[in-house]
């Protein structure tokens, strides 16, 4: 499915889910889950070759949510995409449940790596890319990172290795929402100019509006250009996207929405009212 209007409707539904999960479980990182929704939807309903009925097919593409704190967005995506019963989302962050605040490896079908500690997803994806090459499998590897995550040294170790090995099966997305936990990501570290950094490291870097579904789809769907350069999409996003009173307000890195805020958010997202 690559009808952009349909994908936008899915994104709105996922945002509603994510906000409800944060409210019900009283868990933080809501702003971070809302900024990467289009990136997840474009990938899972776009080029990612996966079959929810055969989640461990060795020839499948791999998606790694390296910014594991956006777990609610991943769980909601996987449920919507048919990897597991959406009713399971109601057990998110409950005692003894399968869905912790950061995803564990195969905690539900479709979770390809345990993340939560930043700077781990890209090296793991590089290993998967090398494996695909060794095993002569057609798999591609998609990694979603945060901008703050790009402060981790391991990211740049991986960034230097992948072009040396011409690992152009990789597609990295950076959710550049300009915030990290306690401040502006461009002020805390000299992150900008981010795309130029990746280019200097030998990557095929493009910048897109991370909420423009068609632009994201086009960027992640482009075939490797034969140069061997892996691809990175620097997606300019808004933390808390989709809800006016959350957008670009970093309090929503930690804040938990009230029941009233959940209702207001659903109205703004164009979602039907949830029965009280």
């Amino acid at each position: 499915m690559t009808n952009v209007a349909d994908l936008a409707a899915i994104a709105a539904r996922l945002r509603g889910r994510v906000i409800e999960m944060s409210h019900a479980a009283e868990t933080p990182h809501l702003g971070s889950s809302l900024s990467c929704t289009e990136l997840l939807v474009a990938t899972y309903w776009g080029p990612l070759r996966i079959d929810p009925k055969h989640p461990l097919d060795p020839n499948r593409d791999r998606f790694i949510l390296s910014k594991g704190h956006a777990a609610t967005a991943l769980y909601a995506t996987l449920a919507e995409r048919g990897f597991f019963d959406p009713a399971l989302l109601e057990t998110y962050d409950t005692d003894g449940g399968a869905l912790p605040e950061h995803p564990g490896l195969q905690c539900v079908p479709g979770v390809e790596a345990a993340t939560g500690s930043l700077g781990h997803g890209l090296p793991i994806a590089l290993g998967m890319a090398l494996a695909a090459r060794i095993q002569k499998r057609p798999s591609r590897q998609y990694v979603l990172m945060s901008d703050g995550e790009c402060e981790e040294g391991s990211v740049w170790e991986a960034a230097m290795f992948a072009p040396a090995q011409k690992l152009d099966s990789l597609v990295v997305m950076i959710d550049y929402n300009k915030w990290q936990a306690t401040g502006r990501s461009d002020e805390i570290m000299a992150l900008a100019p981010l795309a130029e950094k990746w280019r200097a490291f030998g990557w095929d870097a493009v910048e897109v509006d991370g909420h423009d579904m068609a632009a994201v789809l086009a960027a992640i769907s482009r075939e490797p250009d034969g140069s061997g350069r892996p691809r990175v999409i620097v997606a300019h996003t808004v933390k808390g996207k989709g809800v006016s009173f959350m957008e670009d307000d970093n309090n929503w890195h930690y804040r938990i929405p009230t029941a009233d805020e959940v209702r207001k958010a659903r109205v703004e997202l164009g979602l039907p009212e949830v029965p009280a």
Binding site: P123, I134, F161
Partner: protein, 309 residues
């Protein structure tokens, strides 16, 4: 031992197309034959151990059997986070190989010493910790690690260590190898210190005490049956390790002992002190300074036996 590792991994990779070797830019020429025979399964990962370790997890998640290989502190303590999360939490069959362990690289200074690696790594769930005693134990240790469903750490010396086995030993994970038997004292050697334990046994022999000497090549899981027997049968049990007295095999045995009821013979812990050894010097000089020679270990055992009398 590193030559034994190179020879073994070269043959195993040729026989098993799941084996992938990741090197942290060391072993110049050491893996030339491997690279000739399996060019698509050797990667020099540069001076970037965090990425190397994370990639190993990704390779293992895809069904391959990667080995990471570099100087011990860089293969282990530098990348503790990646070992803990990417390898142990994912519970994937990566084999981490550290070369030049303990004080093997004495003269290079504390940046290149590794006397804390076992203490830290054995805390991690799912990880098997192997310390082969000599070149003859290297290959069976690698073969055993390759058969494990989860991750392993193999702690190697450098080169020129004394060979204590005349023939390839029967090697089983979690089962110490009895090198010689005795009546009075049990000496447990960790890795390359088993040869020092054998020298200590000779010293004790001259003082009228006979010793059982064991290559405790597996620090985790501990050979509890062997320990139970040793603490029942002998007048003293000594651990000899080129590792800090905090956290290593001696600590592991002490933890095990503390959970048991009843009196027991003394545990003599011979290891490196809780200090960085920053003076220049050879491995032999540093071992002597730490009391890690045959005569020094024998003296420590005799002192404890005298005190216990």
């Amino acid at each position: 031992m590193r030559n034994a590792f190179a020879a073994a991994i070269t043959e195993l990779a040729a026989a098993d197309d799941r084996v992938v070797l990741l090197s942290g830019d060391i072993g110049n020429r050491l893996f030339d034959t491997y690279r000739d025979r399996c060019p698509d399964r050797f990667y020099n990962c540069g001076v970037a151990e965090a990425n190397m370790t994370g990639m190993a997890a990704g390779l293992a998640l895809s069904g391959l059997r990667p080995f990471t290989y570099t100087i011990t502190p860089f293969a282990t303590t530098r990348v503790i986070e990646q070992i803990r999360v990417d390898i142990c939490y994912h519970d994937v069959p990566v084999v981490i190989v550290g070369t030049g362990s303990g004080l093997s690289y004495a003269s290079l200074g504390p940046t290149h010493h590794s006397c804390e690696d076992v203490g830290i790594l054995r805390c991690f769930p799912n990880l098997t910790v192997l310390c082969p005693a000599d070149s003859a134990e290297v290959r069976p240790a690698i073969e055993a690690a390759l058969k494990l469903p989860g991750p392993a750490y193999i702690r190697l010396g450098k080169k020129g260590e004394p060979t204590i086995h005349d023939t390839p030993p029967a090697f089983e994970v979690g089962k110490g190898i009895v090198m010689q038997d005795g009546r009075d004292v049990c000496l447990l050697g960790m890795g390359t210190m088993t040869s020092v334990a054998l020298q200590a046994a000779k010293e004790l022999e001259a003082r009228g005490l006979s010793s059982r000497v064991v290559s405790m090549h597996t620090v985790k899981p501990l050979d509890e049956a062997l320990l139970a027997d040793a603490f029942r049968r002998f007048r003293a049990v000594a651990v000899v390790e080129e590792h800090s007295v905090i956290g290593g095999l001696g600590s592991a045995v002490a933890e095990w002992l503390a959970r048991r009821d009843g009196p027991h013979p003394p545990l003599v812990a011979c290891g490196t002190p809780d200090a960085f050894i920053s003076e220049a010097g050879s491995q032999a000089w540093m071992r002597a300074r730490c009391g890690l020679t045959g005569p020094a270990v024998a003296a420590a055992v005799l002192a404890r036996l005298g005190a216990a009398r």
